[in-house]
């Protein structure tokens, strides 16, 4: 029962992934794309945790570097956007 539900949740997350991808491709500004990328990575964290529940606990380890990467990449990209790099 619980595995089917988790599969259902993963499908929901995949749908939101597609929605974020739309914004990532469509833009219109670079700031929008950075925001969409950030949201996509956070969704990726959710998917990693859910897959970790389904198959193997080690998939949860993927979530930590992803969270770190979102933070650093967002800060660096926004710095670039402000023209400071």
């Amino acid at each position: 029962m619980i595995t089917e539900l988790i599969h259902f949740f993963i499908i929901l997350l995949c749908i939101s992934c597609v929605l974020c991808l739309y914004r990532l491709i469509r833009g219109p500004s670079l700031a929008d794309r950075i925001m969409a990328l950030n949201a996509l990575t956070v969704i990726g964290i959710g998917i990693a945790v859910l897959i970790g529940l389904l198959y193997n606990e080690f998939f949860i380890d993927v979530a930590i570097p992803l969270a770190l990467i979102t933070y650093v990449s967002a800060v660096i990209l926004t710095r670039y956007l402000e023209g400071e790099i």
């Binding site: 914004r23 990209l77 023209g83």
Partner: protein, 346 residues
């Protein structure tokens, strides 16, 4: 018990997934960057936290749930920073708000900040040699120039005493002027030796050297005038009246020119625009000196028809005075060149 925990965790995970979906919907549907950020940060991060909380409940106390807790805390800490950075970067890079939005309080703040930065940059661009070390070098050159101009200004006193017939004080003052000019030439040599050692660009050091050289011209002219005054002493009682008053007038105008030049040099490392204006004034004053000199010569030629040595002596003095004015004009011209080099950037 475990069934209850499973139900609760599934409910949490469901809420999280729902938040994810709604947040993504907001990211797609909202009209501008700022409202989309509102959707993405709040909703998506809360969705992640819901899913992770469900996972923690499901796993109990274990390594996996510790990792999930760590990620959750990290996400909660970083999400506001990220959204703030994105909003700020978007605003600075010119992303517009949607047309329905009512007010923008940040605009005035950003405008003020930009204005402050611009005025600071302008002030820096208006200085000739901005950095600290170079400022010391400029001070050396500046000291040389002020000393030279001080010596030139003493000529006014010497000329006044000379015309009054006070020969002893005139001699003293002439000696003083010559001594000051000697000192300035020594100062100019030390400055010239310092310039190639400094961190100046070759163009700037060339400018400084040319400035010093044209200043040396001024001091040479002043020294020559002092010597001429010394030579003319036996003739002072033969001077006609218009010659005396004319020489005083000419000296006054020349000293005015030199003082204006001193102000222009003072402004050179502070405000190039002002320095340019002042050097323009120097040129105007030099023209006036020319006019006075021409009138003086005209009246003198009318008065003394026979060409005797008195006229020769007077003419020598007038020519040296003119030399001082001319060489200070050439310094002013060089200041104008420096200003033109640096002000085209503004």
């Amino acid at each position: 018990m475990s069934a209850l925990i499973e139900i609760i965790s599934v409910i949490f995970m469901f809420i999280g997934s729902l938040f994810y979906l709604l947040g993504s919907l907001g990211i797609v549907r909202f009209p501008d960057l700022y409202t989309r950020l509102h959707a993405s940060t709040k909703t998506v991060v809360i969705g992640a936290c819901g899913i992770m909380f469900g996972a923690i409940l499901l796993k109990g106390i274990s390594a996996a749930s510790a990792k999930a807790l760590l990620t959750m805390i990290f996400l909660l800490l970083t999400a506001p920073t990220i959204s703030h950075a994105i909003a700020r970067a978007g605003y600075y890079s010119g992303v517009k708000m949607c047309p329905e939005s009512v007010r923008d309080d940040y605009e005035s703040y950003v405008f003020e900040e930009k204005k402050k930065k611009l005025t600071k940059a302008r002030a820096r661009a208006r200085m000739w040699l901005g950095r600290r070390k170079e400022r010391d070098l400029f001070k050396l050159v500046h000291d040389h120039i002020t000393k030279t101009l001080f010596g030139v200004k003493m000529i006014a006193d010497a000329a006044r005493d000379f015309v009054r017939g006070d020969i002893e004080t005139t001699e003293d003052e002439v000696k003083k002027i010559v001594a000051i000019e000697r000192e300035t030439s020594k100062m100019s040599y030390t400055a010239l030796r310092m310039i190639p050692r400094s961190a100046l660009s070759s163009e700037d050091s060339g400018d400084l050297m040319t400035l010093i050289f044209s200043m040396i011209q001024v001091s040479r002219a002043a020294e020559a005038l002092a010597h001429r005054i010394e030579l003319a002493e036996p003739y002072i009682f033969l001077f006609p009246e218009p010659a005396k008053s004319g020489v005083i007038k000419l000296t006054g105008k020349t000293i005015e020119t030199v003082e204006m030049l001193g102000q222009a040099v003072d402004e050179l490392n502070r405000d190039l625009i002002k320095a340019e204006e002042l050097s323009n004034k120097v040129s105007d004053l030099e023209d006036e000196v020319d006019v006075i000199r021409r009138e003086l010569l005209k009246t003198l030629l009318k008065e003394c028809k026979s060409l005797d040595s008195t006229f020769f002596v007077i003419n020598e003095i007038i020519m040296r005075l003119e030399d001082i004015a001319d060489s200070s004009e050439s310094v002013a011209n060089y200041i104008r060149v420096i200003c033109a080099k640096h002000l085209h950037l503004l």
